[in-house]
Amino acid sequence: MPKAFFIDTTKCTACRGCQVGCKEWKDFPAVPTKQRGTHQNPPDLTHFNFKLVRFAEHMDTQGKVTWNFFPDQCRHCLEAPCKSGASLPDSIVIDKDTGAVIYTEKTAKENFETIRSSCPYDIPRLNPKTKRIVKCDMCIDRVKKNMLPMCVKSCAMGAMHFGDRADILARAAKRLVAVQKEFPKAQLCDMESVSVIYLIADAPAKYHKFAVADAAGAPGMTRQDFLAGMFEPLRRAAKQIQG
């Protein structure tokens, strides 16, 4: 049965338990950081940071400041454009039970820029040592044992939920109605095309540049479709060269 996440940013307090929990479960080392005047650290996803809480501060014309938190991660798209952009059939696989989009060791043979550019959310990162392209794997090792993904398990605020897609969609829809009473602009981000559904209380751009997959301007086409189609010729060419 396909699984999904529901991430309610209205309950996120940016404790970054999810960010740290992910690294701890995967036994990733610390990444050197620098104080840049923001709590967001490291500044972006890395090959050792599959989960990153993004901090975005805004001031409106009345001088009211809001501080938005966005616990970014791979969306595990239902039709993953990164898989469409891959040149090998089994470098990127979809787990049939959960829908998790998994990058295998064979991504080391893929063109990183092609894969990264195909992602509307700018998620894939390159491990410079192994050359593998890496990202969140839905903690597939835990989920196969009926255990919650580590980020969900770590969330002390109840902002993150994980379960069967149908149940998660119902939960998200119910929560959206409740949040919209106070925040009419609240929305669920790309819920029809992803397995990681964010609830945000304001415009997506006030959370993160890639909070949603914008339409690329092509009529009747989402950005995901556009990018997947755009890289199809490149992928075919790469295949021919590789033989």
Partner: protein, 291 residues
């Protein structure tokens, strides 16, 4: 909550050594669950609840105990015998004798019901232990269903005891359950500890760091046994009274398994507890086979 079948299928995939236990007791647990859902529940007015007495530690049920379900009990018992015949081929002869005795009127259904609660009963060709086992398993779904109705009547009242607030039975398992999320407020989502009655399957809350048998709360005397690969399961044991209690941390899980099925797959942990000299506070039907 997932079904018993789904739980056992997944767990057997990860630990095939559970096969014989699952083959024997899985159908019994499935029978219990199905029959509990269709059982009639408490009939007529619920017993009056003396709030002060209850809050002082007196369980709900008077001495008379659970109601005998005149309709459906014999049929359920006969259906159970068919399940047990497949699960325990070694008992085939005794089960056949019991089935014949029931069909021939040599043991009345209410006598069998009473045997479930320790009253004397005898059937030729059936060992007393076998009779008691069949009677208890036949009664269990009806008892559990009645307990649901009874507990609902006292849910808002504080219960201080370590024994069952419905029937006074001892717990044989605890479950850490997430409390339902109130959407208006952020609340921590760790699990509250619910003890589970070995007799009627009622659940009630209890302190997490406390032995239900003797009340010990000393960290040095409370032992936790666990398999690092399965952090959602553990045995809580007490060095002071040498008793143990299984514990499922359902807050760790995607799908929460039924408590009885979760207890069955914890048999390896239970065996570890027995090997270290601890005894169960109350047993499951398979506990005698473990350790």
């Amino acid at each position: 909550m997932e079904t018993i079948e789904v739980t056992l299928a997944r767990e057997l995939g990860m630990n095939p050594a559970l096969g014989p236990l699952a083959a024997a007791f899985g159908p019994v647990l499935i029978f219990r669950d199905m029959r509990r859902q269709s059982a009639p529940g408490w009939q007529g007015p619920l017993p009056p609840v003396d709030a002060e007495s209850f809050s002082g530690g007196r369980p709900l049920l008077p001495e008379a105990g659970f109601q005998y379900p005149a309709e459906g009990f014999q049929e359920a018992a006969l259906a159970l015998i068919r399940v047990l015949r497949n699960s325990f081929p070694g008992l085939a002869g005794e089960l056949a004798a019991l089935e014949a005795a029931m069909a021939g009127g040599r043991i009345a259904p209410d006598t069998l019901w009473a045997a479930a609660f320790g009253r004397d009963a005898a059937v030729e060709g059936v060992e007393p232990r076998t009779l008691a086992f069949v009677a208890a398993e036949a009664a269990r779904p009806f008892v559990a269903r009645q307990a649901e109705d009874l507990l609902a009547a006292a849910r808002e009242l504080p219960w201080p005891g370590s024994v069952c607030p419905v029937c006074g039975g001892a717990p044989h398992m605890s479950v850490l359950r997430k409390i339902g999320a109130g959407e208006d407020f952020i609340t921590a989502h760790g699990g509250k500890r619910f003890l589970r009655c070995s007799c009627c399957a009622a659940e009630w809350t209890h302190k997490r760091v406390s032995c239900p048998t003797c009340g010990c709360e000393e960290p040095d005397e409370l032992v936790v046994l666990r398999d690092p690969e399965r952090p959602f399961e553990r045995v809580d044991a007490c060095k002071r009274c040498k008793r143990y209690l299984l514990c499922l941390d359902s807050a760790e899980l995607v799908s929460v398994p039924p408590a009885d099925a979760a207890a069955l797959v914890m048999a390896p942990l239970e065996a570890k507890a027995v090997a270290r000299g601890f005894r169960p506070l109350a047993t499951h039907v398979w506990s005698g086979l473990v350790g």
